[in-house]
Subunit: 377 residues, 2 copies
Amino acid sequence: MTEPFSFRLIATDGAARLGEISTPRGTIATPAFMPVGTQATVKGVTFDEVRRSGADIVLANTYHLMLRPGAERIAALGGLHTFMNWPRPILTDSGGFQVMSLSELRKITDRGVTFRSHIDGNMVELTPERAIEIQSLLGADLSMQLDECIKLPSPRAEIERAMRLSLAWAERCKRAFETASPGRALFGIVQGGDNTALRAESAKALTSIGFHGYAIGGLAVGEPQHVMLKVVEDTAPLLPQGQPRYLMGVGMPEDLIEAAARGIDMFDCVLPTRNGRHGAVFTRFGMLNLANARHRDDPRPLDEASQHEATHTYSRAYLSHLVRVNELLGQMLLSAINLAYYQTLMAGVREAIAQRRFADFCAATREGWERGDIAPL
Amino acid sequence: MTEPFSFRLIATDGAARLGEISTPRGTIATPAFMPVGTQATVKGVTFDEVRRSGADIVLANTYHLMLRPGAERIAALGGLHTFMNWPRPILTDSGGFQVMSLSELRKITDRGVTFRSHIDGNMVELTPERAIEIQSLLGADLSMQLDECIKLPSPRAEIERAMRLSLAWAERCKRAFETASPGRALFGIVQGGDNTALRAESAKALTSIGFHGYAIGGLAVGEPQHVMLKVVEDTAPLLPQGQPRYLMGVGMPEDLIEAAARGIDMFDCVLPTRNGRHGAVFTRFGMLNLANARHRDDPRPLDEASQHEATHTYSRAYLSHLVRVNELLGQMLLSAINLAYYQTLMAGVREAIAQRRFADFCAATREGWERGDIAPL
């Protein structure tokens, strides 16, 4: 019999892993990219389109939703799946990351974090127990522990303090989660900045507390890519083989394949939609800026070999026009194209691992990006 | 054999007319509502969705397109149909209305209008001949003469001057249009403000010049609804029975049924999409503001009896949330719902005229609007 929540490792190729997460709301093929539905919507894209792109799971932000429309309101409305009309798995973050990056007057104590809402100026408290309660009210399938995420570089003492606080909060989250309904999962978050020893200590302590999955947090916060990948490379092997590993907030397409090569199973990032809203589109030729003058008179489609319909249907000239005049349709189409690109990339990653040719896949993908766009007319 | 461009009057009910415009790019069931694709896009909605809503034709704005991306550029890219991926009929306005409302430093002479572009500050000239040339470069199926549209109220002398100038420009547009390819149509525009005698003079003179269709312009520019309807009521009977009549820039749903009752065949307006972007939704209960607090906790769909999928799929609470946090998806969904409402209304108008129960249809429709929204929970 399958567990209500379970992870199955299907194949490996080097450190890269092909897997499948089972939840009562559906399965998630890994390595997986989770589109970000910050305020209960993936910006500029319907959930039908999100699903068509190939996403098995989306992420929603506890910080935003607890402030507006409120976790209790969403619970009264039947939970987040019903609210936003996405019946498949949802992962919620704990709110901690956005408390650190968006709120003012935040005060961190052992008890939790108190902050001034960026919406209405009210003071709000987020404790490990409340973070779990909110995620439970939202009805998240995958919940995250509350942690303290600090920017890099930071002094070692500061990194260590935040890592230990995050561990203490991890224990409290685990306890608070004990009454959660079957099939719901809780992930611990490895902290420790760019310090290998602190990361190892965090991973070991979290593993002994025991979670359904493990995230690597506190990256993509300003450090160079090689630092991030080094932390991933050193940390992933310390995590249990039989459970999913999630690299939070990452990243660019090249980050995804590099991190998947180092044993990461799950990703989330706002880049596909954020860049789409600003006229940048991800393609097998690399990232293009459609506002660039060279596209203005180009009648060719963006990429006839790509999967998303809009890359065939519209000319570069039209997409460029929409971006230049800042039309909603441009934001909508590029966000959808980018989400589809990310999901196509992940499908390629999974297929390559299954066929044990992941290194070749990465090399061919990188070669395409480096070759750059098709020649101008 | 059918003419390349023709209008067929199918049935009447009082002054209301059921008809069909045939063009080489498709037929247009009238009374018709034309969604506005200002900058070669109906804001926030794909053209697939525009078509699904029931639109046979869209309007595009010459003023915006001549400035960005430019009429010559669109022509080089294969014309507006190809550019924006809408193969069906397109009506373009002449640019005159937006020159008056959006540009600075405009100077009107008999020759035409010179203005400073609101985009790059360049001085641009728009003459009757250039207005026809631009619409031809765009590839419009239905073109409009250049006219001078003034706000109401205005002094009679000013209204008369603008009306006579518009007539002179009508003649020049007709001449400039003589080389247009078969199947393309040119509409004259009746001016004359709120003065019945001037309107009659304009209508008579335009009819003797001879156009494929006739518009009533210079309304929806600040006058009360009863003034607008009086002008329509007095003017429509002066126009040829066998050609389509277009009331420019109108309007609210009640304006559409009132004007259709007075013999108007075509309408355009930005309200469905503009109001949608600002959280207002048109329903058979009247217009609702979804930002209103009473919707925040309401799990019911907007209207289960409505045709657009989004009025069933999403709760009022979710739509209200999207509006309150100003998410793109809210703008997208409400724009699409509003366009569908307008098209459903027009389909109802056409069906009622065919069955000679148009007065009953109008009464029942008005009664729904006046009854207001379904009771709160």
